[in-house]
């Protein structure tokens, strides 16, 4: 029998319910408001009073309204048809909602029950299977979508029956399994999983082995992110967080991309689902939308669902990872999620931690980041979830709880800098303070040796060092004046500017420059380092500056022209000639 209750207190979306039976932490319930059921989640229990956060507006709710508990946690439905969908934070399909305005209490089915899928069996009767083993496969667009033994199944099962290849809908029972007690269980194409629980149906989670290319030079070369790795992008508003994240979404080397728009602008989501169906995936030539799922809880949608949205997105990634696919999860922005936690904690009158955030914020964030990773599946194949989150630090100050907590959890740090953005040096990733821990991984170093160039990491570190020296030289020039320092300081400074302008800066809106494949990155870094390693002779600093400005201009033109085209080679020859006049 379901536990029931009555509303006895309301503050915004925090509702207190007097209950008549057992309730669980994070259990779902429906509050009935004039016949409309509003979904809510238990976040605290005290005696027979449960505090629930309502995923909808509570306008018009009265004390005494009835509540019914569901006996389950917030779950997502997993099955064919997730790709190309646009969901809200609770996995309601936004595309199938009727009205222009979001209607309270309108819940839509995440998957299409009528659509027929082309099913091919993988398992045979008599096979022994455990959770996440592949039973069959359907073609979800181009992607081989595996139908698996549900993650929630415990112990070993024997396949009793599996249906032959054919066209079926998702509700079709595709297999009958027998458990160790000899009972038959039926498996259709869908399964449910509670979003806040990590899917652990795999053999092991090894260290990352290779990098995930993004086509963004300041990431791939300077601070690469591993496949199955974690990274975060903190930055004040207006520094290009969203542009950078969209570039990664468009160009990232992954089979499946899930974008969680968490408490951000609706127009940014509109941009994704307007442009992605048109844009082509540079790795496969297919439309980008075919590999993308959008979880969208924009800033004006109910706050409580904001927290749910990132978990929903992560669970979908874990599901595709179990099929042996490479997934990329982008969450913009995790700060909004933390703020949602703060709002609730505040309404519950909990003792606050730093800046009124809940005290367990750090634990919640690191727990979430730990769900990313590369895994070895039961059948020996691998899958990965790479996670990049953005952080919106208040006032652009990185000494705030969300940034600090995330720094402990994520392995890559792409700090966006106001100063660089002001100078329109995009992407505004600070080249000196940003880091990728993966550059220290022996696995990654040897991967880069093999796949890019022997000794690649040493070259990257050399380039970083030139930048650092350039910054020091610039500080000296600013203190002592152009004439007050030896010419060598100017040369150091301009070499760092050369790397900055030619390699780090990248025009995300230019057709050619936006995507820079690894081969081209290698060519450009080699070229730039060769120029930096040349000794130059100048009469004075004006001559030095004019030379480098011209050099930079030609090299930038190369970035705007197709790789190894006549125009490209022409500029390369021009830079060669230019350096011969001044270099030794």
């Amino acid at each position: 029998m379901k536990t029931k209750g009555k509303v006895i207190g309301i503050v915004s979306n925090l509702v207190t319910v007097q209950v008549d039976g057992p309730v669980a932490e994070n259990e779902l319930c429906y509050i009935t408001l004039d016949g409309t059921p509003l979904l809510a989640e238990v976040i605290k229990v005290n005696g027979d009073k449960a505090s629930v956060q309502v995923f909808e507006s509570t306008r018009g709710l009265k004390n005494g309204d009835s509540v019914e508990f569901e006996g389950r946690m917030l779950e997502v439905t997993l099955g064919p048809g997730l790709l190309s969908s646009v969901y809200d934070g609770l996995q309601n399909n936004l595309a199938t909602m009727g009205s222009v305005f979001l209607k309270r209490g309108e819940y839509t089915d995440p998957l299409d029950h009528k659509k027929l899928w082309e099913f091919t069996p993988i398992a045979k009767p008599g096979d022994k299977v455990v959770a996440a083993d592949w039973l069959g496969e359907v073609k979800e667009g181009w992607l081989p979508h595996k139908i698996m033994v549900p993650f929630s199944f415990k112990g070993e099962y024997t396949v009793k029956k599996i249906i032959p290849a054919g066209m079926y809908n998702i509700d079709m029972v595709i297999a009958v399994l027998t458990n160790q007690d000899g009972e038959d269980v039926f498996v259709d194409m869908t399964q449910k999983w509670p979003v806040k629980v990590a899917v652990k149906a795999y053999q092991e989670k090894p260290r990352p082995q290779r990098i995930m290319e993004t086509g963004v030079r300041c990431i791939d070369t300077f601070n690469p992110i591993a496949e199955g790795g974690t990274g975060f992008i903190p930055g004040p508003f207006g520094c290009g967080k969203t542009v950078l994240q969209h570039a990664i979404a468009k160009q990232g080397e992954a089979d499946v991309i899930v974008m969680a728009a968490c408490g951000e602008r609706a127009n940014e989501v509109v941009e994704i689902f307007t442009e992605f169906p048109e844009l082509i995936d540079p790795h496969t030539g297919r439309h980008l939308m075919e590999r993308t799922t959008i979880i969208c809880n924009t800033s004006n949608m109910p706050v409580a669902a904001r927290e749910a949205s990132v978990y929903t997105a992560m669970t979908i990634c874990e599901y595709y990872r179990a099929m042996g696919l490479k997934c990329l999860l982008l969450a913009d922005s995790t700060s909004r999620w933390a703020q949602a936690l703060r709002e609730m904690s505040n309404r519950m009158e909990e003792l606050p931690g730093a800046e009124a955030f809940p005290v367990d914020l750090s634990a919640i964030i690191s727990n979430f980041y730990s769900r990313a990773g590369m895994v070895v599946l039961n059948n020996g194949q691998t899958g990965a979830v790479t996670f990049i989150g953005t952080v919106s630090p208040a006032g652009g100050n990185l000494k705030e709880p969300v940034t600090e907590s995330t720094k402990k959890a994520a392995r890559c740090f792409y700090g966006l800098e106001q100063n660089r953005a002001d100078q329109k040096r995009y992407p505004a990733v600070n080249p000196i303070e940003s880091y990728s821990k993966y550059l220290e991984y022996p696995e990654i170093i040897s991967y880069l040796d093999k796949n890019v160039e022997e000794g690649w990491v040493a070259k990257v570190l050399e380039a970083k060092n030139i930048l650092r020296r350039g910054r020091e030289a610039n500080d000296q020039i600013n203190i002592l004046g152009d004439d007050g320092v030896p010419i060598g300081y100017h040369i150091s400074f301009w070499k760092s500017e050369l790397i900055d302008f030619v390699f780090l800066q990248q025009d995300a809106f230019d057709e050619i420059d936006a995507l820079c494949p690894m081969e081209r990155q290698k060519y450009m870094l080699d070229l730039v380092l060769e120029l930096c390693n040349t000794d130059y002779q100048f009469d004075d600093f004006e001559q030095c500056r004019n030379f480098f400005k011209e050099l930079i201009n030609d090299l930038r033109q190369m970035n705007y022209t197709p790789f190894r085209s006549d125009a490209f080679n022409g500029y390369a020859a021009k830079t060669q000639k230019l350096t011969e006049n001044h270099g030794n």
Binding site: V11, R59, V86, L102, N346, D483, E550
Partner: protein
């Protein structure tokens, strides 16, 4: 608000603060309105049968035995074409001496538009101001605030922008407007002969601060009526959102909530987002564009109000007095329009984005030169050229008193480039240089 017959009247208040009253009552719904001692109030919290009401006009003089009646519904506004050309207070009551508006009753602060039903904003809104059109182009369906110190002429600029913009309705939400500014807007709209497309909801400094909380929702519900029901292009002006946020903090403080940064409520981000996210381009021709004002304290954008605003809005326009040109300019470094890529080079000339970037980059070089100058260093020839360029660039393009077409702005920029710099120094794509370079 008329009281209905047979309504229960409560006469025992349990607690009174400056902004709220509490009493015991049954069957009360969240967000519903009430009248407390003749003043409008709204339910903000219930705990058992203890109900807390936020009294919009403040609680001064309210006795513990004040009569309280509940109205059973959240705040509403009547919408129809009769709204055009009218001036209202925060409750939607006429303040222009005209009759009450007849029309359909709508709840204010209603649900948001399904993001999937939105269209990507793509209509340019030209303003004639180069600091906006050239560097920070505005698009219909966008939300963007002016960040300005209180002494900047932000209301004048906003009125200019509104009257030059090609829109069907202009809805002004005035919060804590001084009486002078209110009359300024009124006269500016009258002089432009634009009264028939103006609607104003005004809370002046003479009105109680908490009343301001109703103004944005009133203005935006009216805007939604014209944009959704009538397919019109609506421009909503909200000034000053800092005073709105201050009113939020007053209420949350009175309700004993733990403040977060800068003594603002922890929900400030969501509260502001609920307003700004009403900006929308609908699949039909209708749209709502929001231009707001957030006043700053001495240019400090790290304060919680501008900071949260910046994360919500699609850019910001930063007003600053420029000592070189003696003009108020739109600061090219701190200003940004996130949607400018939607129209630049598409609805405007192909060289727009490159000219914009080069113009700003060279202006940045001028700032470096200026720093050198201030520190007493010798300036190079390039530095001198940058400084001269910066002065002319600020006067002819950044200043808010500019009123020219976008093509003229681009041509002016090319003229300045050629006057002060070599082709290579601009760093512009060769193909554009070949086509547009003026002179040598």
């Amino acid at each position: 608000m008329a009281t209905k017959a047979y309504q229960r009247i409560y006469t025992r208040l349990e607690a009174i603060t400056k902004a709220t009253v509490s009493l015991r009552a049954k069957g009360i719904s969240n967000d519903e309105l009430a009248v407390v001692g003749g003043r409008l109030a709204q339910v903000v919290k219930t705990k058992g049968d203890l109900v807390t009401l936020q009294v919009f006009s403040g609680t001064e003089g309210i006795p513990t035995d004040a009569a309280v009646t509940f109205l059973g519904e959240p705040p509403t506004i009547k919408v129809s074409d009769q709204l055009s050309g009218r001036f209202f207070n925060a409750y939607g009551k006429p303040i222009d001496g005209g009759p009450e508006v007849e029309g359909e009753t709508r709840e204010i602060g209603g649900p948001s538009v399904n993001p999937y039903k939105r269209r990507q904003p793509s209509e340019l809104i030209p303003t004639g101001i180069a600091g906006i059109d050239l560097n920070n182009t505005i698009v219909s369906g966008q939300k963007i605030p002016f960040f300005a110190d209180p002494d900047q002429p932000y209301n004048q600029v906003m009125a200019d922008v509104a009257l030059r913009a090609d829109v069907d309705k202009i809805i002004l939400g005035g919060m804590g407007l001084s009486n002078d500014d209110y009359l300024f807007f009124r006269h500016a709209f009258e002089d432009a002969g634009a009264l028939d497309k103006i609607i104003c909801f005004v809370n002046t400094t003479e009105d109680p601060p908490v009343e301001r909380l109703l103004v944005p929702d009133m203005a935006l519900t009216a805007a939604e009526y014209f944009a959704v029901d009538k397919n019109e292009k609506v421009l909503v002006l909200l000034t000053d959102m800092t005073l709105y946020a201050d009113a939020l903090s007053i209420v949350s403080n009175r309700m004993d909530q733990i403040p977060s940064k800068d003594s603002m409520p922890g929900s400030l981000y969501s509260d502001l987002a609920k307003i700004y996210e009403k900006a929308v381009q609908l699949p039909t021709e209708g749209s709502i564009t929001i231009i707001a004002v957030t006043t700053l304290n001495d240019g400090d954008i790290t304060h919680a109000i501008p900071d949260n605003t910046g994360y919500i809005t699609e850019g910001q326009l930063f007003l600053r007095a420029d000592s070189d040109s003696g003009k108020v300019i739109i600061d090219p470094f701190r200003s940004l329009s996130r949607l400018k890529q939607r129209v630049q080079n598409i609805k405007t000339r192909e060289d727009h984005s490159q000219v914009m970037n080069a113009g700003v980059r060279l202006y940045a070089d001028a700032q470096n030169a200026k720093t050198k100058l201030e520190n007493g260093f010798d300036l190079s020839d390039y530095d001198h050229r940058c400084l001269d360029y910066a002065k002319e660039y600020a006067t002819r393009l950044l200043s808010i008193d500019v009123n020219i077409s976008i093509t003229e702005m681009l041509d002016t920029a090319w003229e300045l480039f050629a006057k002060y710099f070599s082709k290579a120094e601009t760093g512009i794509k060769q193909s554009l240089i070949d086509k547009y370079w003026k002179g040598r």
